[in-house]
C-alpha cells in the first residue's frame, strides 16, 4: 500500500515503470501476462505442428457424417444412420439422466444416513457409521463393477425368469429391470390435465396456508389437502372416465416375447448398476456433510426450541435444518459435481454416456481424438459450471444475509429507468419491509415459462432436429453463426436460472438475450425455423416481442419477486 495523497505532478518517464512503486506491480503483471500468453501460444502451435507431422488436420466436419453404430439406450430418435452429433447428444442425455437420478437418490440417501448417524439409537448410528466409512473408502469404479457383476451373475436370464416371473409386475433379469408402464388411451388427456391442475392447485394452497399461518398463526392441514389435490383429483377423473368409457390410462406389464421381455418400462442393468453405485457412494459423502451441518448448529438452539414446546421433528425442520443448510450446501455442490463427473465411468458397465459415444465409439471410428476429446471436455465443463451456478444461486437464498452482503450498488439495466420507476432500495432478509417469497409467483411465472420454452427450442434446434432439409448440421454453419447461437443458448439458460432464483440480474441477462437474439439473426441464423409448424417471421418477431414484454415487466412491473440480492422499490 502506498500512501500518496497528491496526484503525481512530475512528468511521466519510461523508467518510472520499474522504479516507481506505483507502476511497478502493473509492469510486473503485464510482463507475466505476456509470458502466460506466449506459453499458451507455444502449446497451441506445438499441438498444431505435431498434428501436421502426423498428417492430421483439425476439423469437426467428421461429426456431421453418419455414425453407423447403434446405441441401446436413447432418449431421442436415433438410428445408425444419424450423425455423430446426434449420437453425441444421445450420450450426453444419458449422462444427464444418470446424473440427475444419481443426485436425487444420493441426496435422499445422504440426508437420511447423515441424520441417522446422529441418532440416539446406538445400533442405528453405528450401522450408519459402518455404511459411510465402508462405502467412502472403496473406489467407486469397483462398486460399479461389483453391482453389475451381481446383476449379471445372480439374476436369471429372461428365459429362465419365464413368463410368470412378475413380482408386483416387476421382472428382474440379468439384462435389466422391467417395470409396468402406463399406456395412454382415449381420454387420458383429461387425467393428465387433472394432474397438472392438481399440482398447480397444491402449490397455490401451500402458499395460501403459509400466508394464513404468517398472518393469523392458524395452521391449516397441508399434507392431506396437497395429497388429495395431486393424487386424489386425477384418480377421481380417471375413475369417472373409466366408469363411462373404459379406463383412459392402463398399465402395461412386461411380457416374455421372443428373446426378451416386452412392454412396460425397461431399465437396463448398466443404468441401474451405475445409478445405484454412484448414489450409494456419493450419498456417503453427503451424509457426512449433513452431519457436519447439523452439528454446526449449537445445542442451545435445540434446547430453546424444546423449551418453546416444539416437537422433535418440528425442531429439526424449522430450527436446525434451515441453519444447517448454509453449511451443507457449498460442499453439496462439489458432491453433485463429483457424481456427474464420476458418471463417465459408465463405459465400465457398457452404459452409453457421452464418454461412451462421443469419447468412445465416435472417437474410435473417426480417429479424431483431439476434436472429440475437446468437445467432451467442453460438455463436462459446461454441465459442471451449470450445476455449480444453480447451486450457488440456491445458496444465495438459504445463506444468512448479513449486514455486509447484498450491497446492490453494481450497475444494472434496471437502474437506467430510476427516474421513471423511482429509486430502488436494498432490502435484506430480516428487514421489516422484506416479504419472504415462497417460490416463483405471479407474472414472473410467465417470464420463467418464456425462457424455458426458448431454451428448449434452441437446444432442439442445435442438436435434435436431424433433418437436413430443415437446417444444416451445426458444424457446417459459419463460425460467426456457431458462436452467436452458442452465446444465445448460454444467455437464455442464464436468464432462465436467474429468473427461477429471482436474482435481480435477470434484468440484465434478459436484455443480453434479446440483444444476442438480434445479433444471431443478423449473423444469418435461421431462428424462425426453430418452431417448424409456425411461420418463420411470426416466430422471430413474436419471440422478440415476448422478450421485450418480459423486460418491461421486470423493469416497470410491481416486481415483488426479484428480491434476492435485494433491490426492491422504495415505498412512498
Amino acid at each position: 500500500m502506498t500512501a500518496i495523497t497528491d496526484p503525481p505532478r512530475a512528468d511521466f518517464r519510461l523508467g518510472m515503470l520499474w522504479t516507481d512503486t506505483r507502476y511497478r506491480s502493473l509492469t510486473i503483471q503485464v510482463i507475466a501476462l505476456i509470458l502466460v500468453l506466449l506459453g499458451a501460444s507455444y502449446l497451441v502451435s506445438n499441438v498444431l505442428a505435431n498434428l501436421a507431422a502426423l498428417g492430421k488436420d483439425f476439423s469437426f466436419g467428421i461429426l456431421t457424417g453418419p455414425a453407423s453404430y447403434d446405441i441401446n439406450q436413447r432418449l431421442i430418435d436415433y438410428t445408425s444412420r444419424s450423425s455423430h452429433t446426434t449420437a453425441a447428444v444421445v450420450g450426453m442425455l444419458n449422462t444427464l439422466l444418470v446424473a440427475v437420478m444419481g443426485c436425487l437418490l444420493a441426496t435422499v440417501i445422504g440426508v437420511v444416513a447423515g441424520v441417522l448417524r446422529l441418532s440416539n439409537n446406538w445400533l442405528i448410528s453405528k450401522l450408519m457409521t459402518v455404511y459411510i466409512e465402508t462405502v467412502r473408502n472403496i473406489p467407486v469404479l469397483i462398486q460399479i463393477l461389483l453391482l453389475a457383476a451381481v446383476f449379471d451373475e445372480f439374476l436369471p436370464s429372461p428365459r429362465q425368469a419365464g413368463a410368470d416371473a412378475h413380482m408386483l409386475g416387476i421382472v428382474a433379469t440379468n439384462r435389466g429391470f422391467y417395470i409396468p408402464g402406463p399406456v395412454f388411451g382415449a381420454g387420458s388427456v383429461f387425467v393428465v390435465a387433472a394432474l397438472i391442475l392438481g399440482i398447480v392447485g397444491s402449490v397455490w394452497y401451500a402458499r395460501h396456508a403459509k400466508r394464513v399461518q404468517q398472518e393469523t398463526g392458524r395452521l391449516l392441514p397441508i399434507w392431506r389437502v396437497r395429497l388429495g389435490l395431486i393424487v386424489g383429483l386425477p384418480f377421481v377423473v380417471w375413475a369417472a372416465i373409466a366408469l363411462v368409457a373404459g379406463a383412459p390410462i392402463t398399465l402395461a406389464y412386461p411380457e416374455l416375447q421372443g428373446f426378451n421381455f416386452d412392454g412396460g418400462i425397461y431399465m437396463r442393468n448398466s443404468l441401474v448398476a451405475l445409478w445405484l453405485a454412484l448414489s450409494i457412494y456419493t450419498g456417503a459423502f453427503i451424509a457426512e456433510n449433513v452431519r457436519a451441518g447439523i452439528l454446526s448448529v449449537s445445542k442451545g438452539q435445540t434446547e430453546a426450541a424444546y423449551a418453546l414446546g416444539l416437537r422433535a421433528n418440528r425442531t429439526m425442520s424449522l430450527v436446525i435444518l434451515p441453519q444447517a443448510l448454509r453449511v451443507i450446501i457449498p460442499p453439496l455442490i462439489s458432491q453433485y459435481l463429483n457424481l456427474t463427473k464420476n458418471s463417465s465411468l459408465a463405459i465400465a458397465v457398457g452404459y452409453m454416456d457421452a464418454t461412451g459415444t462421443l469419447g468412445g465409439i465416435t472417437l474410435n471410428q473417426t480417429g479424431r481424438e483431439f476434436e472429440t476429446l475437446l468437445l467432451l471436455m467442453a460438455f463436462y465443463l459446461s454441465i459442471s459450471l451449470t450445476i455449480s451456478m444453480i447451486m450457488n444461486l440456491y445458496n444465495e437464498q438459504v445463506k444468512l444475509v448479513e449486514r455486509t452482503s447484498a450491497s446492490g450498488t453494481a450497475f444494472s439495466f434496471g437502474k437506467l429507468f430510476d427516474s421513471m420507476t423511482g429509486p430502488w432500495d436494498t432490502l435484506k432478509k430480516g428487514d421489516a419491509a422484506h416479504q419472504p417469497n415462497f417460490g416463483v409467483a405471479s407474472w414472473l411465472n410467465l417470464v420463467v415459462l418464456l425462457y424455458a420454452g426458448m431454451l428448449a427450442a434452441e437446444l432442439a434446434f442445435l442438436f435434435l432436429a436431424d433433418v437436413p432439409e430443415l437446417r444444416r448440421a451445426y458444424f457446417d454453419w459459419t463460425l460467426v453463426q456457431q458462436l452467436t447461437f452458442l452465446l444465445l443458448v448460454t444467455l437464455t439458460l442464464s436468464t432462465l436460472l436467474t429468473a427461477v432464483f429471482k436474482h435481480f440480474r435477470v434484468i440484465d441477462l434478459a436484455v443480453g438475450t434479446l440483444a444476442m437474439w438480434i445479433v444471431a439473426l443478423l449473423a444469418g441464423n435461421p431462428l424462425g425455423l426453430m418452431i417448424p409448424s409456425l411461420p418463420s417471421i411470426l416466430v422471430v418477431v413474436g419471440c422478440a416481442a415476448a422478450q421485450l414484454g418480459a423486460i418491461a415487466y421486470l423493469v416497470f412491473g410491481a416486481r415483488p419477486n426479484v428480491t434476492y440480492f435485494c433491490r426492491v422499490r422504495r415505498d412512498g
Binding site: 441401446n72 449379471d152 440379468n174 439384462r175
Partner: protein
C-alpha cells in the same frame, strides 16, 4: 532492464517453438533400443495369449516375433503392449508401439484417414454370430429382437448395425470392452448372441466348459481381412514388416520349413529359395537387414502353415480350417508377391 527481460523471454519462447519434429527412421530406433515394441490383443485364444510362463504367444504374436527375428535374429527381442479395440490406434499413432499385430481389419478409412499402412493380410476372416444351442436358432435372420454382445470400437459394431438395418430387424446392442468380459456376459446369458470375427468366435468357444452347447451361425456378414499395420510415413519400416511376413508365406509356398531351412540355406536348385534365404543376391541389405534374415524367421518362428497349424489349425482346440487362408495354389487367397 525491463526491455532486456522481455526480449529474453520472447527469444526463449521462440526457441522452444522451433523444437519438436517426429523422427522417421523406425528401423534405426528399433535397432538402437534392441527390441521391437509390438501391440497385440489383450487375450484371444490362439491369436494372442500368455502361456503359463508369462510368454506371449499365438498366431498374431508370431508376426511380431518374425519381425524381431528378421532384425535381430532373435524372436525373443520383442516387448508386447496389450491393446484394446479402443486403445490400439492411439498407441500406434503416438509411437508407443512400433507395429500392431492384433486382428485388425484393413479398411479404407483406417488406411487413408487414420494414416496407417497395412502391410498384408495374415488372416482372411468374416464376422459371424455365436448362440447357445438351446435357443434353437439356426440362422442369423431369426435374431430379430435379440440382445447382442459386441466389442466396442471395432468394425463389427458397424457391420452389425448395417446387417440388422438392411434386414429390417431390431436388436439390443450391449457394448463391451474386451473379449474376456464379453465371454463372461455371454455365458451368464446376459446376451443371447455374441458377435465378432468368426475366428475369434471359434477361439472363444474353445475355452468354454462345454463348447458343443454353442453354435456358430452359417451367415458371415462381412469381409474382415486382418493384418499387421504400421504408421504412415516410414516406408522402409513398412517394407521390413511386410517382407518379414511375406517370407513366412513364400516359405510355405516353396516348402521351406523350420526343419529343413538350415539345409536349404546352404543352397538349392530353386533360385527363388536361394534369393530369399540369402545365398543369392543382396536382398537383406536392401531392407537394411542381414542377408539371412528370412532364415532366422523360418528357423525360430516357422513358415505360415506351421504357425497356423501350431496355434489355430484343425488339430488345436480352436480347430480352424485353412479355408480362405490356404495358399493360392491350394485354392485359397494367400498370394505373396514373388521374392525377386
Amino acid at each position: 532492464m525491463k526491455r532486456n527481460l522481455l526480449i529474453g523471454a520472447v527469444a526463449a519462447a521462440a526457441g522452444m517453438t522451433a523444437a519438436g519434429a517426429a523422427s522417421a527412421a523406425t528401423l534405426d530406433d528399433v535397432k538402437a533400443k534392441g527390441f521391437v515394441q509390438c501391440g497385440v490383443a489383450t487375450g484371444v485364444p490362439g491369436f494372442a495369449y500368455t502361456e503359463a510362463s508369462g510368454e506371449w504367444t499365438g498366431f498374431d504374436v508370431a508376426v511380431c516375433r518374425a519381425v524381431a527375428a528378421a532384425i535381430f535374429g532373435d524372436a525373443q527381442a520383442v516387448k508386447f503392449t496389450p491393446t484394446t479395440g479402443k486403445t490400439r490406434f492411439t498407441a500406434l499413432a503416438s509411437g508407443e508401439i512400433d507395429m500392431l499385430a492384433r486382428n485388425t481389419t484393413w479398411t479404407f478409412s483406417r488406411d487413408v484417414d487414420l494414416k496407417f499402412t497395412f502391410v498384408g493380410v495374415n488372416y482372411y476372416d468374416g464376422q459371424g454370430f455365436m448362440v447357445p444351442k438351446a435357443l434353437g436358432v439356426t440362422s442369423a435372420k431369426e435374431l430379430d429382437g435379440a440382445t447382442v454382445c459386441i466389442q466396442t470400437g471395432t468394425t463389427t459394431e458397424l457391420n452389425l448395425a448395417d446387417y440388422f438395418r438392411i434386414n429390417n430387424m431390431s436388436y439390443e446392442p450391449v457394448p463391451i470392452e474386451t473379449n474376456a468380459e464379453a465371454q463372461q456376459k455371454y455365458l451368464a446369458n446376459a446376451c443371447d448372441v455374441y458377435t465378432t470375427d468368426a475366428s475369434g468366435l471359434a477361439a472363444t468357444r474353445s475355452t468354454f466348459e462345454a463348447p458343443k452347447d454353442h453354435v456358430i451361425l452359417p451367415e458371415i456378414i462381412s469381409k474382415e481381412p486382418l493384418g499387421p499395420l504400421v504408421r504412415h510415413g516410414d516406408s522402409e519400416w513398412a517394407d521390413v514388416v511386410r517382407w518379414a511376413f511375406n517370407a513366412m508365406v513364400i516359405a510355405e509356398e516353396l516348402g521351406v520349413t523350420s526343419e529343413n531351412v538350415e539345409e536349404m540355406a546352404k543352397g538349392t536348385d530353386n533360385p527363388e529359395i536361394n534369393r530369399m534365404l540369402g545365398t543369392e543376391g543382396e536382398y537383406g541389405a536392401m531392407l537394411g537387414l542381414d542377408k539371412n534374415f528370412a532364415v532366422n524367421i523360418i528357423k525360430t518362428v516357422g513358415n505360415y502353415g506351421e504357425v497356423f497349424n501350431e496355434f489355430i489349425g484343425p488339430d488345436t482346440a480352436i480347430g480352424l480350417e485353412r479355408g480362405l487362408n490356404a495358399q493360392w495354389t491350394q485354392g485359397g487367397l494367400l498370394y505373396a508377391p514373388p521374392f525377386r
